[in-house]
């Protein structure tokens, strides 16, 4: 083990009580006057323990992905996940980790009675490792926040793609907004489920509310239509505005014989005919 690692490891082992209280005091400054919750106090102890273990395993700051730091990484990942889930901000979360530097420097000073000579290696080790710990914590924090956002988007999407039963055997899906692959997936799933539930033979996909139709969107639509066909039903795509029609032709998109209409009304009229219904006005 390198000398500076030895020194730091011994400090972490021997001066725990002072380190913990010093850390709490420093955190107080970083966290806008907040104190440590019981959760954080427990985290403190495990972080110190795993940090010591990593230092003793001769870990260094140059490679934080080294196996020596594996358990410390896991503990910090858990910390950031918990903090993110509880709505704590990124800077207070990283601040918690960074607040560890000061108490360690103070501890080192206590050890040597204030002398600075020969300290540079262990000071550098401390600073670099804690920086890497904070970086890692923030990266994980951001990942957690992203996952939460993705999940919320998903839920929002579910709410905004209703499948409507227009008539016996006729379903309609009014798409509003951009049609990306996850949205398209969701539409396919709900639409197909409803096809089975209602025993419908025809699905109208209305794209009036879809701002742009490029090759990707066309692919999604085609996949949806194919899936509907596999389940024994037909599709009509409605809401093809003149601009969209031009884009489709210019891009050379082949809609492969899918029935298309410019309005939902036209689509409904066609759907009624295709499903064998006649609509007549009552004699007055």
């Amino acid at each position: 083990m390198r000398r500076e690692n030895q020194r730091l490891a011994d400090l972490l082992r021997d001066d725990q009580a002072n380190l913990l209280s010093g850390w709490a005091a420093e955190y107080h400054k970083y966290a806008e006057g907040r104190g440590l919750t019981r959760d954080l106090q427990a985290q403190q102890t495990s972080i110190l323990r795993e940090l010591e273990a990593g230092i003793r395993a001769d870990g260094n700051a140059d490679n934080f992905n080294d196996p020596a730091w594996r358990v410390l990484r896991e503990v910090l990942a858990q910390l950031s996940t918990d903090r993110a889930a509880q709505g704590e901000t990124a800077d207070v979360t990283s601040g918690f980790v960074l607040a560890l530097k000061r108490p360690i420097f103070d501890g080192l000073q206590r050890q040597t009675g204030g002398a600075i000579e020969g300290q540079i290696d262990v000071i550098w080790l401390t600073s670099a490792v804690v920086d890497r710990m904070a970086q890692w914590t923030v990266a994980n924090y951001q990942k957690t926040r992203e996952d939460i956002i993705v999940r919320q988007q998903h839920e929002l999407m579910e709410l905004s793609t209703p499948v409507i039963k227009l008539w016996d055997g006729v379903l309609a899906v009014p798409l509003i907004g951009t049609l990306d692959s996850s949205r398209a997936q969701m539409v396919m799933e709900s639409l197909l489920e409803r096809l089975v539930e209602t025993g419908s033979e025809l699905a109208i996909i209305d794209i009036t509310g879809v701002p742009t139709v490029d090759t990707l969107v066309a692919q999604h639509l085609m996949k949806t239509v194919t899936a509907i066909r596999l389940m024994g039903a037909e599709s009509i795509i409605s809401g093809i505005r003149p601009q969209i029609a031009q884009t489709i032709v210019h891009l050379g998109i082949d809609l492969q014989g899918i029935v298309t209409k410019s309005t939902l009304a036209d689509a409904l009229r066609t759907a009624m005919r295709m499903t064998g219904h006649t609509v007549a006005r009552a004699a007055s």
Binding site: A77, T81, N140, T144, D147, Q185
Partner: protein, 136 residues
């Protein structure tokens, strides 16, 4: 009744029955990880395709599974490995799918779309390993 499977394991792929067995294993694993029905179906189908490739092109091999974690999310990773002839032109194999002539080929491009992560290691004369992952 399927009992809970260990987080890692392997199963041989030597003949057709093993392909059916592989599907059953993946069904159990994806159900264990509480994947949605569509996600389960995609993974089971991908496993069926790759297991068949291992048997037909790789002259037999094995399927290894591992439950993986990345920060907050969990997933299922499957490796299909053989010591067969290897794939001479991987780029081509990934493009062709079933679009070439007789429509056979390995269907790798289609399988790739069923999963989140897809990796292939192959060496002519040594073998092939295809790894797929679906995240929850």
């Amino acid at each position: 009744m399927a009992t809970e499977l260990a987080p890692t394991g392997s199963a041989p792929i030597r003949d057709e029955r093993d392909i059916v067995q592989a599907r059953a294993l993946v069904r159990t694993l994806t159900a264990q990880l509480k994947f949605s029905l569509v996600e389960q179906t995609k993974m089971i189908t991908a496993a069926s395709e790759l297991a068949r490739n291992t048997m037909v092109y790789g002259r037999g091999g094995e399927m290894r599974w591992e439950i993986v974690a990345e920060g907050i999310r969990r997933g299922l990773r499957l490796h299909f490995e053989d010591q067969g002839p290897g794939i001479p032109d991987v780029e081509q194999a990934l493009v062709d799918g079933w679009t070439t002539g007789s429509g056979l080929g390995m269907g790798l491009s289609g399988t790739k779309r069923l999963v989140n992560d897809f990796a292939i290691r192959t060496k002519v004369g040594e073998g092939t390993c295809v790894s797929i992952t679906r995240w929850k």
